[in-house]
Each structure stands twice: as C-alpha cells, then as structure tokens.
Point group: C2
Chain length 186, copies 2
C-alpha cells in the first residue's frame, strides 16, 4: 500500500523535523519584515497542508487562484541528513484574499508525496492506475491524520486540508477552502 509508506515518509522525513521549528521561523520572519504592516494580523501560524483528492498539484498556488499571492519564504532551516550537509528545509508564505479583499497570511503548501502518487498512476510500470489513485489519496490522508494525532511534538502546529475537487470550476475554490479552515480554528 503505497500511500501508507508515503504518509509515514512525509511525517518521519519532514513534518517531525520542521513543525517543532515553525513558530520560531515565523517569529524571525516577522522581525525581518517589520516594514510590512498587518503582517500576520489575520491568518494562521500553523502549516496548512493541502491534500487534493485528485492528486492534482500546482507548483505555484497563485496559478490556481488569483486571490492567492506569494509573499516570501520563511528563513531556511539547515539540517545534516543522510550525508547531505546543511540540507535546506523551508516554507512559503502566501497572502490569501477573501471576497472583500481582506488578506490573511498563511504558511501553505501541498502534500508533496501526492506528486509521487499522481506520477505513479500515469506510468504503467509503477503498478497502479487512476481508479486506485483516489483511494490511495484517502488512505494517505487518514494515515497521516492518525500519525499526527499521536504526535506530541507536532500537536497544534499544522492543519490538514482535504480538497474535494467537485467545486474546481469556481476560480476562487482554493482561497475559500483555505480561509474556511483558517477561520474554523479561531
């Protein structure tokens, strides 16, 4: 079950490493961006992890929704990993506008392992096709949710956002989904 291993890999090789440092990265980011007013006045200080059911992932969020703007990257976090010295881990900050034009600052990204699921489903040699892919995304989501629920060091530092693709013809589907989850936690 590919999704099971990818969820564990995402947690053990990434979330467990980066989530404990997220708050400090945001504090340091705000200190170096003082000239921007209202930075993080509204928004979320959790890592927002997007999990689209169709595994259809963009590399730039603004390509998906014009109400989303790339703002800047959080400071680099360098960690020696498996022989690579100072491997860089970082996240991107986006400003997400609501329908009244008010901006919320968020650290948001897609769950990268879904790219692997998507690409595997396109290659016959990889052993599974498009019908199984949706099931695998759900299995990835549930496995990851369960792992994170039991993780003390990651508690309250993330939000998993499952994106149902039924409303994709709405050009502001993504910004609305993000804002709905951000407001939910306030």
């Amino acid at each position: 079950n590919v999704a099971h291993g990818l969820a564990w890999s995402f947690y053990l090789g990434y979330l467990q490493l980066v989530l404990p440092n997220l708050e400090d990265s945001i504090i340091s980011f705000c200190a170096s961006h003082r000239s921007t007013t209202h930075l993080w006045g509204r928004g979320s200080r959790k890592l927002l992890i997007l999990v689209p059911l169709n595994a259809n992932i963009s590399h730039k969020l603004e390509d998906e929704d014009s109400n989303i703007h790339f703002y800047d990257n959080l400071p680099n976090n360098e960690i020696d990993r498996a022989g690579v010295r100072g491997r860089v881990y970082k996240h991107s900050v986006y400003r997400v506008m609501d329908e009244d034009g008010k901006a919320s600052d968020c650290v948001v990204e897609y769950a990268t392992p879904l790219l692997t699921l998507y690409n595997m489903s396109q290659l016959s040699s990889a052993g599974f096709g498009e019908p199984e892919r949706r099931q695998q995304v759900l299995l990835f989501f549930r496995t990851l949710q369960e792992i994170l629920d039991n993780s003390l060091e990651c508690r309250n530092r993330y939000k998993l956002i499952l994106l149902n693709d039924e409303h994709e013809e709405d050009p502001h589907f993504l910004s609305k989904a993000i804002l709905r989850h951000v407001q939910q936690q306030e």
Copy 2:
C-alpha cells in the same frame, strides 16, 4: 509494500529532478574551486547512492570512516515544488582516501528513504519490524535499480552501492566500498 513506493518516490521526487543537472553542477563547482589542485583528478562524476542493508544511516559520512572528509557542497539547485518556492536540492562532495592516502572526489550520499524504513521499523504503530526491514531494503534496492535501468534521463549519472554490513568492524569499510565502485567504472 512500503519499499516499492519509497523507491518510486525517490526516483520521481528526487533522482529524476536532480540527476540531469548533476554534470552542470560539478562543472560550475570546479570553476568556483580553482584554487584546489587536482579537484576531481580522481573520483567519480556520478551520484553515488549508498544503500546499507541494515538501513543504518549516518548524517555525516566522516562519522563512519576517518578516511572520508567532507569537502564542500555543490551549488544549490532551486525548484518550485508543490507550493514551496525555490525548494533547494543539493549534494555534498567528499574526499575519500585510499590506504595510500590518495584522494578521490565523489558526490556521495545515503538513500534517504532508508531513514524512513529504519524509523518505521522502530515504531510499533507503523506496522513492520526489524526482521522485515532487511527484506524491504533489498526490495527498495531492486525496485530502484529496475526503475533507473529504464530511465533514459538518468543513464550513466548514478551508481547504486549496496552495503553489506558483514564487514562493519573494519573502520575503513565504507571508504573501501566507495573506492571499489568508483574504480570499477574506469
């Protein structure tokens, strides 16, 4: 089968992205390190990927063998990936000494997904234990070998080095294994 998915992920999410650029990175590295004599006079311009059967991975190769010295990192390769802008991919260059003290320059690292296999085998919640782990490492190695054999864009740009842990009490086991593989291809 966790190893199957991790092998595909390692190829689709990493090797396929970085191997086509490796030669250019090395050329650019040599240009910026002209003061070092004999740089890459001896060694390999392929990515050497270490796959230890016991999944026991170090974060710094010199911790494993005093005949290995970290030299410097190749230039950063920045790619927009799944919402992370300018995600950094890089490799480390090591100088590996033979028993006569002659140095070979190599781009070498452990296969990172083995860290996931190792950690999963330590957590009862992840669903598999130490006895299965060795089998999973072999499955990872064979699956990856097969994927890479069929990859036109990665041809001749890597070397997979399976490390049998029987000689681990030899303090220079790792440098000898690396040099044996490097000399094999000449």
